[in-house]
Amino acid sequence: MSRLIAGDERALGELYDRYGGTAYSLACAIVPDNADAEEVVAEAFAQIWRSAASFDPARGNVIAWLTMIVRSRALDLVRSQRRRARALDDAVAFSDETEAPGMSTGSEQADRGVELSEAQVLVRRSLAELPLPQRKVLELAYFAGLSQSEIAEHLNEPLGTVKTRMRAGMEKLRQQLRPLMEMPS
């Protein structure tokens, strides 16, 4: 990161080599079009390049910072293109099948031949172990970019229930993913 901040674009290339696949996969999971996903990732890395100095390692690791920027860009694009309805239909369909759009929760069949890192295995297992109602709420927020009230309306659940499930789901994930986190608890 220090080389990135110093303006070494080779450092940006190395960052892409390490996390570009994850960034692109995440973008593909949110935007419906691979060409849009490419734009999202390019813009995200451009933002990272411009604002590398704002990254504070005391506040978390690089992958978390990078993926939040990618997700934010992807959701902005989806909202501006008004394709949320389609993503929402996809999200509900996948959630009903216990799997989120573009997300794997432990099924190895979809990823046959792809080696997963220990981190990926842990994250997938943690998501799979979430109670389905909590996971549904998190998926709709994370991949479809819905607000709590929109999620409540979509699931026909009380707003308070959605808030509680969202909090409980994230709290469970935090406990499960603690070994991957850099922030001291």
Partner: protein, 277 residues
Amino acid sequence: MISTERLEQATAYVLGALEDEDRLAFELALNDSAELQREVAELQEVAGLVALAVRPVAPPAALRERIVSDAKAVRPIAPRLAEAAQQRRDPSPPTPLRAVSGPAAADRWSMTRLLGGLAVAASLVGMIVMQNKFREADARAQALAQAVDQLRAQVGERDAQLGAMIGPQVETIRLSSSGTPPSARMYWNRASRQLVLVTFALPTAPSGRTYQLWGIAKGQQPVSLGTFNTAANGTGQLSIRVPDGLDIATGAVTEEPEGGSPQPTTTPILAGNVGAT
């Protein structure tokens, strides 16, 4: 101790799921609470890790090259750094002194004619040089006059901005993000309806995008107050006249497509309440 309600809001905030009317208030609370900032930072890290669960999709091979070459265009390595590195590898040899040969012997009469001719030529050259110098001086004077006019206009503009920023009737509103740079100050002169926004450490908006300032009255939809971009050092400025009838309670800055949007399409980067500072 953070309340349950704030913890729920923190989770929703990190996922971008907090309602618009709650988000600004939450961000102000976040700005004032180190404990809440730590909570948000941890949740952001968790949310970031969720990305590892997505189904892997191989990116196009050309994407890497595009990203690196875009970076070179935005912030190239300073030439002096490259030159310094080159010099360390291959220092240039010293320039050799050239030997100067003495004049050959010449006929005295030829020398006189030669010297006379040289004097005339020198006079002509001198006159041409002087004429050119007068023309250059004229051009410089004109350029200076234009520069003075421009400076007068800038001073006038600065005077107007200062008028909006100074005075007992001016309110200063601090706009901030979640505890870290960037930040901004909004100077709101209710009497003259003049408003000046100054930003700090706000990265330049990417190509095709711009920053947009919003004025929000209580219980009303945001009203656009204008678009702006920032310099490379993160400072930006916007000076506008607020429309009559708009009683600003909150100011906010979002990133929007170039030309701005009728309503905010992204989460505010900066926000602040009138009367909070």
